[in-house]
């Protein structure tokens, strides 16, 4: 940040600074529910929630307490001798990393009262800055694998690297991966446990150095390609004069010999192609590859020539076909790495080449027009039309200057010189780009990694999206997991004893630890909002489900209670058995955890609502999805109030034996058998 300060005297005076403010608000890093800096504003947001209180009709949930409420303290991190100090709260911002979680306690040194890490202090600087600013930067001078190791050690995923450094990081990583891959390939060739004959053949074709047979094959095909090309060339040379006047090309003189040669070559090529086709792991992909197309184009004219008869009509076409035989020279690209790279370079510089062509075309047309009109006056001018001038323009711009067409008028000569000068410039401009491309590709030996890079980018975006949706789902998830914790916080619950008897508190305490204090406070805030508006946050699918169900009008009845109970207990118990099950199948915690004091107020609230909510009840899925914060035991079971209480009055035998929420507790209270529908 560059600053020029003119400080006026006086405390609290306004100070004008020229400050480069890049962004005032840090963007939330991936994989974290909330941005670190924004967490600092959480107390303010919670305090401002007082603004909802007069509007709310329901009592608010209890706030999570900071059990070990200590003043913010400085902690010392000793990394290989270099001491870093920071506030404990700074590290707590990211609870799913090593420094933010209790994992760092493993590194605590009692005597010196500091945390000692035997790691690289230079890299640690960036890592600590991540906690401070919320942005992870990748320093350019750092080795990519060392950096990755440090990140892995401290539990930070590399996707969090901020955009300013992410590209560099990815490039370096890709280079490194390629280098490793090359090394791997070199070493891989030696080991071949047991491959099928087909795979062996394929490997022999692709890497001729693997076995002597492959090498022999390689050289033989190369030799025959050369022979075929030379044959095509020599065919046209006039050799030896016959008694006739004109020289006859060798092809017509020794027709049979050349034909035999051609046939032999084509045989070899056909056999080679068929063998490759047989050995290819994916025949379809092989047939689509460039090399196979070249092969086919090289041998096809021969067969077409065989098939076609010696018609006068088609002989012209037949001659044209022979031109394609020259494509056999492209078969050499299998033998030469450099040729392949050249081809790849041209492909990757397609845009530059396209630009070159386009600008040249523009220039040609303009100059040809100009020259035509300039030379129109002169007599016996070769510039008969604009297309005729194209030839002159091309020859001049590429500085060939054959001299078969020259301007004679003064205007023509002036424009001609301008043409040749501009030609040099236009052609010279894109060429360095192509050259540098070629050199880069040649040095890095890139194959098809551009395509792989795009996939990685897509994967990164997908991961970011997942973690972002995860953040908004975090509240819903923790609602289901956290209800247990909150219930434990409530004091003097008779049922609490029962719970502890089941020995489930250990699990609950574990649940408690998984959400950090900040998260629990945030969730408490969202909870208060739910209470204020008397509505709840749900998943998208559940929302659609409930929407559909509300369309089906169904009156509340008592009979489904049993089946719905089953559903609840079933899912309850299954939830107990496996934590973190899918949200849609999780029921909420039994309501009997909640204190009785809430009942009366909730009833009053529910009365207001019951008119609307009558339709949303008794369907099994809706039962499953409701959390039942408002659940209390409905002591006065009024028949017209379909209140949401996931209380389980009576189901005796249906319950699985592992269900700790002992129904007998509730049976005493609501003998009237209240229907459980959370009609909030």
């Amino acid at each position: 940040m560059s600053q020029k300060t003119n400080i006026k005297n006086g405390v609290g005076a306004e100070v004008k600074l020229v400050v480069k403010v890049f962004d005032l608000l840090p963007s939330p890093p991936d994989g974290v529910t909330m941005a670190a800096g924004v967490a600092a504003w959480l107390p303010f947001a919670r305090a401002a929630a007082i603004g909802w209180m007069p509007v709310a009709n329901l009592p608010m949930p209890i706030a999570p307490t900071d059990k070990n409420k200590r003043q913010d303290e400085l902690i010392v991190l000793n990394v290989s001798g270099r001491r870093f100090q920071t506030w404990r709260n700074t590290l707590d911002r990211y609870p799913d990393t090593l420094l933010g979680s209790s994992e760092k306690e493993f590194f605590y040194n009692e005597e010196t009262r500091e945390y000692f890490f035997d790691r690289d202090p230079d890299v640690f600087r960036s890592i600590l800055n991540f906690y401070r600013t919320g942005k992870l930067h990748y320093p350019r001078y750092e080795c990519i694998s060392a950096y990755d190791e440090e990140l892995a050690f401290f539990g930070i995923i590399p996707e969090i690297i901020s955009d300013c450094c992410y590209e560099e990081y990815k490039d370096r990583k890709r280079e490194n991966a390629e280098r490793l891959m090359d090394d791997l390939e070199d070493s891989k060739d030696s080991k071949l446990p047991n491959m099928t004959f087909r795979e062996t053949m394929w490997r022999a074709f692709e890497n001729p150095h693997t076995s002597t047979m492959a090498l022999v094959f390689y050289y033989v095909t190369g030799f025959f390609i050369a022979v075929s090309v030379i044959t095509n060339v020599v065919e046209t040379v006039p050799c030896g004069s016959t008694p006739n006047q004109r020289d006859v090309p060798c092809g017509e003189r020794y027709t049979v010999a050349f034909f035999c040669m051609d046939t032999a070559c084509v045989m070899i090529f056909t056999v080679e192609y068929l063998m490759r086709l047989f050995a290819a792991p994916s025949r379809y992909r092989f047939m689509r590859s460039v090399m196979s197309i070249i092969d086919v184009v090289a041998i096809l004219p021969y067969y077409i020539g065989l098939v076609m008869t010696d018609n006068e009509d088609v002989s012209g076409a037949f001659v044209t076909l022979r031109v394609f035989r020259v494509f056999r020279i492209f078969k050499f690209s299998r033998h030469s790495q450099g040729l392949r790279i050249l081809g790849y370079t041209l492909k990757s510089c397609a845009s530059e080449l396209g630009f070159l062509l386009f600008s040249l075309t523009m220039a040609i047309i303009i100059f040809a027009t100009v020259m035509f009109y300039a030379e129109k006056g002169s007599s016996s001018s070769k510039f008969t039309s604009i297309p005729a001038s194209f030839w002159y323009t091309i020859v001049t711009m590429t500085t060939l200057g054959y001299g078969d067409m020259v301007p004679k008028t003064i205007a023509g000569k002036i424009f001609g010189s301008i043409c040749s000068l501009s030609g040099v410039l236009v052609i010279a401009l894109p060429v360095p780009v192509i050259v540098s491309n070629f050199s880069r590709i040649y040095h890095q030996n890139q194959r098809a990694d551009k395509r792989r890079a795009q996939k990685v980018q897509k994967a990164r975006l997908a991961r970011m999206r997942i973690s972002k949706t995860g953040s908004s789902n975090a509240f819903l998830h923790s609602k289901r997991n956290g209800m247990l914790n909150q219930a434990l916080e409530l004091t003097q619950l008779p049922f609490r004893m029962k719970l502890s008897d089941e020995g489930s508190t250990g699990e609950d305490r574990h649940l408690n630890k998984t959400t950090s204090l900040i998260e629990s406070q945030h969730h408490h805030l969202l909870h208060c909002l739910e209470k204020t508006t008397n509505h709840e946050f749900v998943d998208e699918q559940l929302f659609e489900q409930s929407y559909l169900e509300s369309a089906l009008q169904s009156l509340p009845s008592r009979s489904p209670s049993l089946s719905s109970q089953e559903g609840i207990t079933g899912t309850c118990c299954s939830r107990r058995a496996k934590r973190g099950s899918r949200p849609s199948s999780e029921a909420h915690k039994p309501s009997h955890m909640h204190p009785h004091t809430h009942n009366l107020q909730e009833l009053s609230a529910i009365h207001i609502q019951c008119g609307e909510q009558r339709t949303l009840n008794t369907s099994r899925s809706s039962l499953n999805m409701r959390p039942d914060e408002s659940g209390g035991l409905n002591c006065k079971s009024s028949s017209q109030v379909t209140t949401a209480i996931i209380s389980i009055p009576t189901p005796p035998t249906n319950n699985s034996p592992t269900s700790p929420e002992a129904p007998p507790n509730l049976a005493s209270n609501s003998s009237a058998g209240v229907v459980k529908v959370s009609a909030l």
Binding site: L17, L24, A35, A45, N57, S472, E612, Q613
Partner: protein, 215 residues
């Protein structure tokens, strides 16, 4: 010819950044604010020095320039409520914090409001809340203002709620509110009516104490 075209494009490219730079400079000149001294703030609010330090550190970290403008405020607030649209409520909240109506919240405003909300007496809290609801600051809350506020609160819930939000849910909520608060049924709620009604409601009284230990 290519040279001509090339030079033309180069020139236009050069002219553009200079114009942009001037705009950028203007944008980047922000006013930086330094708050009054620690002792003064300690005297004005109910926080002690340590708490003020913690608050300021968080505040300064987020807004190095020392002021929060409404845009930033809305962004911060919407991060806490990712499900819905928190901008409307953030707007009202911003106006409530920005007691000087300067368009930006300075640290003093921030801390003063927090002091009321966290450490103030019940009456002060209710007064602050009344000011929040009274959008046009005329001393009365009428139904339109309340509907705006309640709609803003419901907006924060977002679309996916259970039960599904209906269009008249805020209105019904406002009706219930006025039933409770408007004692003399004159269609508006005054500060005294508000405070009186809130003090009668145990729920509200209890929930006002909820955030006492936030700091």
């Amino acid at each position: 010819m290519g040279a001509v075209v090339g030079t033309l494009t180069m020139q236009t490219k050069q002219r553009r950044p200079s114009r942009d730079k001037v705009d950028d400079d203007l944008e980047m000149t922000v006013v930086c604010h330094r708050p009054e001294g620690l002792e003064q703030l300690e005297a004005q609010t109910n926080f002690n020095k340590r708490e003020l330090q913690v608050l300021y550190r968080g505040f300064k970290n987020e807004c190095p320039s020392g002021v929060v403008n409404e845009e930033t405020f809305k962004q911060i607030y919407s991060q806490f409520f990712p499900h819905g649209d928190a901008s409307a409520y953030a707007h009202y909240l911003f106006n409530a914090f920005d007691s000087g109506h300067s368009g930006s919240i300075k640290f003093e405003d921030f801390v003063t409001a927090l002091s009321i909300l966290l450490r103030g007496s019940t009456r002060e809290k209710l007064q602050w809340t009344f000011n929040l609801y009274d959008i046009n600051r005329d001393g009365y809350i009428n139904k339109e203002e309340m509907t705006d506020i309640v709609s803003a609160i419901y907006d924060m819930m977002g679309k996916y709620t259970y039960p599904a939000l209906k269009t008249d849910t805020p209105k019904q909520h406002v009706e219930a509110f006025f039933q409770k608060m408007d004692k003399n049924r004159d269609g508006v709620v005054t500060l005294d009516e508000f405070i009186l009604s809130c003090q009668e409601d145990d729920n509200i009284m209890r929930s006002l104490q909820l955030f006492e230990n936030v700091m």
